[in-house]
Symmetry: C2
Subunit: 422 residues, 2 copies
């Protein structure tokens, strides 16, 4: 069966590359996902799936506690879900991949058109090649290969092609609220073929640190918000250290900072010769796989309340903490979950190597599936994050096909199969 | 004579207030100085002065090492200089005041029209009332009073009404290059009637601190420019401490930071969940009265070169230092200078109190006069800096008239006098 799948994928390699090229050449940045979604929907119909295509209702979604998106209008941005009912008696599997890609950024940094889909030295180039159209193509190829060698799955397969992952997961949330769930889920985000049963969550925060303005020549008459923000920054470093000391999960072994607190933006003052009266810090707080977002928020808030112990200024002028923008729900699937065993076995079978099991250092839509849809989700896919979101993003095509083979075998072993009647 | 001057100023109080109101009501922000300059020129002509009104030649000025302005076109922004030739045998005095005012800023913070000139409870309100039209009015009143009581000065008086002080002194520089100089100079910037024989200089700088970008979830793969900037900031605090330890001038007694290094602006990163790869710091370096600008620049540059000793990162990625924008030349007049004695005596005579002698915590055009025009300049005037550049700027009118009286007496005692022929 492995041999048959492998041969089928080799024989359909050109078509598979063309499919991925087609997907990458459709620049599906936020608001522009329709073309690629219609392409995916067509692929799902060709697989005989019952396909639902719908534009999420932003008004209704907007009231959900897990909703985040900078927009509430999704006209022209459809979600696509295909369902293949099994022949019965097997376990169901949910496959999920997002089609939205981050903007190309500065064109000057790209060596070719960001949406070229060019194939050079076994790599396919373009925004979204790694994050995550390469993974999506692997899913489609896996389903095609299973069908191609004449097998039918016993369990249901649900294929979710979603929007909005890059902006906080509103696409997957909408699909969950549509009622889709399964016995397990797989998202082929770029893990470089490592298996991530756990995913870090994250939330964005803003802290406003206050000072008091004065002329720079008599700066001692004021209070520099920049100096005060230095205290806040080192205070946050201590919180990060404390939180990471608590992370004993062996999946994080070797990771120097499993759940980082990253300060990404600092901005304060407006005039070189004035004492700045406010500094804004913006950052991302990593949330442990088993942690609740609200607990992490509470810990940060309580920690900032300790600042007056470091500097009495903060008793009168406490920094203001707000949570804003994107956040990703963490996810955790137990290593003993039967889907893990199936996936690991197929990885060994195809690669001949022992799989690397880790916890992801970033959030995916997997947290929503695991926590909200009661569908334990594992992340495993081709591509390396080092090129995601960067100029000259690419994916190694061999990895796409190897992942397709592993997923095809996983589908067969998880869902069970019957031979098609001739 | 003091009694006569005092009586004259009391009798002409209403006219004096109206003159200051007229000046404040002309909103002479940068580029809009013409109306108030023509008013001043008219006042000088009425005093019998020979008046020169000219728009500085930005092209020619621009090549001067002491030139700084964000513009090189001064059409509509004339300088005004009036000269009153003395009867002979006396010392000359240069009086200098700037007419440019900083913008009103947010109108919401003003209780009334920023250019109202309204008089309430002995205070005259409006942008520029303190900085420094109140001082300019005091100069004009002093000259009027001397003439009013029938006296003629033996030494020459040069009255400079200049533009561009707020932007780096191009107006005074232009007047100096026109050839005006004298045995001493006085600038009535708002010292709150303290006498400043020395003035701090200052320069603006920018430091770019470098990091290396990475995703916030794996922030250990990057180098945070924000964390590196914390090291740079504390390194600069040490430099400030070292420089101020060297300041032993008793005129700075009681000043906690005679020559501050103020960081006014910090800006870095653009995305909460990315590691920021660059942080920009902008600040103002105070320069001691006897220090040379270039020496201070060199010290800062050398100090930053020590950073690799604190963190080897800086050996590969040294912060970039640039000097930009405004700078003010420091000035220093020896306490034993005879003009000091004359001014101090008149202060005692009018106020009945011992004068407070200090060094200014900010730059004025006095440094240019002292250093470049060889005209030792002392700063002494009405008004408090706490309201300068702020909403609801005002000046206490009694202070304007007291300073006018002190300056009138100073003119008489410095320049010498003769009684006018009837």
């Amino acid at each position: 069966m492995k041999t048959q799948l492998h041969r089928w994928l080799e024989q359909h390699r050109e078509a598979g590359i063309e499919l991925l090229q087609q997907m990458v050449r459709l620049p599906s940045t936020q608001g522009n996902e329709q073309s690629v979604q219609l392409l995916v929907a067509e692929q799902l119909r060709e697989l005989g799936m019952v396909v639902e295509v719908w534009e999420p209702d932003g008004e209704a979604l907007g009231t959900h506690p897990y909703f985040y998106s900078p927009r509430t209008q999704f006209a022209g941005s459809p979600n696509v879900v295909g369902v293949c009912q099994g022949t019965g008696g097997g376990r169901s599997l949910l496959l999920n991949g997002h089609v939205d890609v981050v903007p190309a950024g500065s064109l000057a940094q790209w060596e070719r058109d960001p949406f070229s889909g060019a194939v050079v030295d076994g790599k396919l180039y373009g925004r979204g090649a790694t994050d995550m159209k390469g993974g999506n193509a692997a899913l489609l190829l896996a389903l095609q290969a299973v069908q191609g060698i004449g097998l039918k799955l016993r369990g249901d397969v649900i294929f979710q092609s979603v929007i909005e992952e890059e902006s906080g997961g509103a696409g997957t949330l909408a699909a969950i609220l549509q009622g889709y769930k399964a016995d397990a889920a797989l998202i082929p985000e770029p893990t470089n073929l490592r298996i991530f049963p756990k995913q870090q969550g994250s939330m964005w925060f803003r802290i406003e640190v206050k000072g008091r303005s004065a002329h720079g020549g008599t700066r001692y008459e004021g209070v520099s918000a920049i100096e005060k923000s230095m205290i806040v920054l080192s205070h946050l470093q201590e919180l990060e250290a404390q939180r990471n000391l608590r992370v004993t999960d062996p999946l994080y072994a070797g990771n120097p900072i499993p759940i980082p607190i990253n300060i990404g933006v600092i901005e304060g003052g407006s005039w070189p010769s004035s004492v700045p009266d406010v500094v804004k810090l913006e950052g991302r707080m990593g949330v442990a796989p088993e942690e609740k977002l609200d607990d992490a928020k509470g810990e940060m808030q309580k920690w900032l309340a300790l600042l007056p112990g470091k500097d009495p200024w903060f008793a009168s002028y406490p920094p203001e903490l707000t949570w804003f923008g994107a956040r990703w729900v963490p996810g955790s699937v137990d290593a003993s979950h039967p889907f893990m065993a199936v996936l690991m076995a197929q990885y060994r079978e195809v690669s001949g190597q022992e799989p690397v099991i880790e916890a992801s250092p970033w959030g995916t839509d997997g947290g929503l599936l695991t926590v909200l849809a009661d569908t334990p989700c594992i992340v495993f896919g081709p591509g390396v994050t080092q090129v995601a979101h960067y100029p000259n993003e690419y994916i190694v095509l061999d990895d796409v096909f190897q992942v397709a083979e592993i997923i095809a075998l996983t589908l067969l072993h998880w869902c069970g199969w019957d031979r098609m009647e001739a």
